[in-house]
């Protein structure tokens, strides 16, 4: 059971890092109080993990044959990579970290199923693009509808308040549903836990990270994203939630950070403004490459140590 600890660590760092994708804009624009945001996020992440979390766990196990020790190493390597990326202020994808780690482990045992890997990588690529399209479309359509229906100032104001909270909760739910597989999927794959138990453990550890360590990332404007108006913030989070929810149905864990960035870029296209700096995009690209590689290498190291 000590092997679960690395998973908990991974869940914790994921929660700390990704909760900003859910209520980050809501908090920094002052619409939602920080404490309310993290409590809501924690609740809905657990809900999502419990209700739909197991859907994505299958593919983690199918990727390669994982031994319990491997599971420990993978989760640990992924967690360390995530923490490092957070420290470097590079948006990190837990999905890429854990998958990279699993591949790393499988290199030694030679049992990697690369067809599954291609499917996973394809989904990673589609995530930001899909979020971009979703962000753009929702912004236009919803904007049009709102201009026709919710017109008075007071109503708009109330709509935005309620909307930001609602979309945030939905996004947290999707995050839990989609990403809990990253956290404890390896234990299911190695037969140590049932999907349901893994969902509980993973969900709780993510919630833990959200509640204890997410302030720093949430308050950092240095995420390189242009401060959004309430409507755009609402749309971005909604787009991200939908994308993650969709990929949960497909059964592949994807990155919420990349989804939110894609959505924000898509929204920027509506007004023809560049919402994400080139520098940030470069950092994201760097993270794309570094994360799985680093995690994979580290896992190699750990598994070698353990055997």
């Amino acid at each position: 059971m000590w092997r679960l600890l690395s998973g908990v660590f991974l869940g914790w760092s994921l929660g700390a890092n990704d909760s900003a994708n859910v209520f980050g804009t809501g908090v920094t624009t002052g619409i939602v109080r920080y404490r309310t945001a993290i409590v809501l996020t924690a609740i809905f992440v657990i809900l999502g993990a419990l209700l739909e979390g197991p859907k994505c766990m299958k593919i983690v196990g199918e990727l390669s044959h994982i031994l319990p020790n491997d599971a420990f190493s993978c989760a640990l390597a992924a967690a360390i990579t995530m923490t490092l990326m957070t420290y470097l202020a590079i948006p990190a994808s837990a999905s890429q970290a854990i998958i990279g780690a699993v591949i790393g482990a499988s290199i030694l045992s030679g049992s990697a199923d690369f067809t599954k890997l291609y499917k996973i990588v394809a989904c990673w690529v589609i995530t930001p693009i899909g979020a971009l399209v979703a962000g753009y479309t929702i912004h236009r359509v919803l904007g049009y509808v709102l201009d026709k229906t919710v017109v008075s100032l007071t109503r708009r104001s109330l709509f935005y308040s309620a909307g930001i909270i609602a979309t945030g909760c939905y996004s947290a739910y999707s995050l839990g549903a989609n990403n809990v597989a990253n956290v404890t999927g390896v234990y299911v794959g190695s037969g140590m836990l049932t999907p349901e138990t893994a969902a509980i453990v993973g969900g709780l550890s993510i919630a833990g990270g959200v509640l204890t360590y997410s302030k720093k990332v949430m308050m950092t404007v240095g995420k390189g994203i242009v401060p959004l108006d309430p409507f755009s913030a609402l749309v971005a989070v909604l787009a991200e939630g939908i994308v993650l929810h969709l990929f949960t149905q497909i059964g592949v864990p994807v990155s919420s950070s990349q989804a939110i960035v894609g959505a924000v870029v898509g929204i920027g296209l509506v007004g023809d403004i560049q919402t994400v700096s080139g520098r940030m995009l470069a950092k994201i690209g760097l993270g794309w490459v570094l994360t799985p590689v680093l995690a994979g290498v580290m896992t190699l190291g750990f598994t070698t140590l353990l055997t």
Binding site: T29, T36, S157
Partner: protein, 214 residues
């Protein structure tokens, strides 16, 4: 969980706080219109008592202003809207201030007969501008396009600008007893003609608020 309860309150109150704020601001602008109206009559009749009434109305307006600001920061509207709303209220307050200054200068040194007609015309146009400001505010609340209302305000402002030119050139020909009397007259004309600029600023700010929510 306190925040959670507060938030639920906000949703369930169906915008009660917001309604309070809009009522307050409406009251504020209406007071300003009344003050302008009283000022016109006071000028026409050269009634010092009516002039004092204007000062009283300014004091009332100040009280309303403080009420609005505190209501806004008790949690009405979204945080990003609040500074703009407050700025608008401050601008209306500055119009009040200019009106009060004009009255003070008048009470101190009166107004030469030659300048009376044009001054009354400016004062009347100021009143019309305030009425239009109220109309613009209501339209903004309803989420309407403000373009034609802002155009109307600009038309009034231009008219005042034209009169101002004549007013000033007539003023140059008024014989003055000493520097201080001249200064008071100059300050009176200056504040009287600045009122319209301030109202225009306020109306521009309504446009800013309107655009901020689209």
């Amino acid at each position: 969980m306190h925040e959670g309860i507060m938030f639920l309150e906000k949703i369930l109150s169906h915008g009660k706080k917001e309604r309070q704020v809009t009522e307050d601001i409406r009251e504020h602008i209406k007071l300003l219109c009344t003050a302008c109206e009283v000022f016109v009559t006071a000028l026409e009749k050269q009634d010092r008592n009516l002039m004092m009434d204007v000062i009283e109305l300014e004091r009332e307006g100040d009280a309303v202003r403080r009420k609005v600001i505190s209501h806004i920061y008790e949690g009405a509207f979204l945080p990003y809207l609040r500074p703009d709303l407050c700025k608008f209220v401050e601008l209306v307050d500055e119009v009040f201030g200019l009106l009060k200054d004009t009255v003070s200068y008048y009470l101190e040194a009166g107004l030469p007969a030659k300048l009376k007609d044009d001054s009354i015309r400016v004062a009347l146009l100021n009143q019309r501008m305030c009425e239009m400001l109220l109309i613009t505010f209501e339209a903004m609340l309803r989420g309407e396009d403000l373009r034609e209302k802002i155009l109307a305000i600009r038309i009034y402002e231009k008219k005042i600008d034209d009169i101002k030119f004549n007013l000033m050139s007539d003023a140059y020909q008024v014989p003055i007893e000493n520097f201080w009397k001249g200064k008071v007259l100059s300050d009176l004309l200056s504040s009287l003609t600045s009122i319209s600029d301030m109202i225009e600023d306020a109306s521009d700010h309504l446009q800013i608020i309107h655009l901020g929510t689209r």
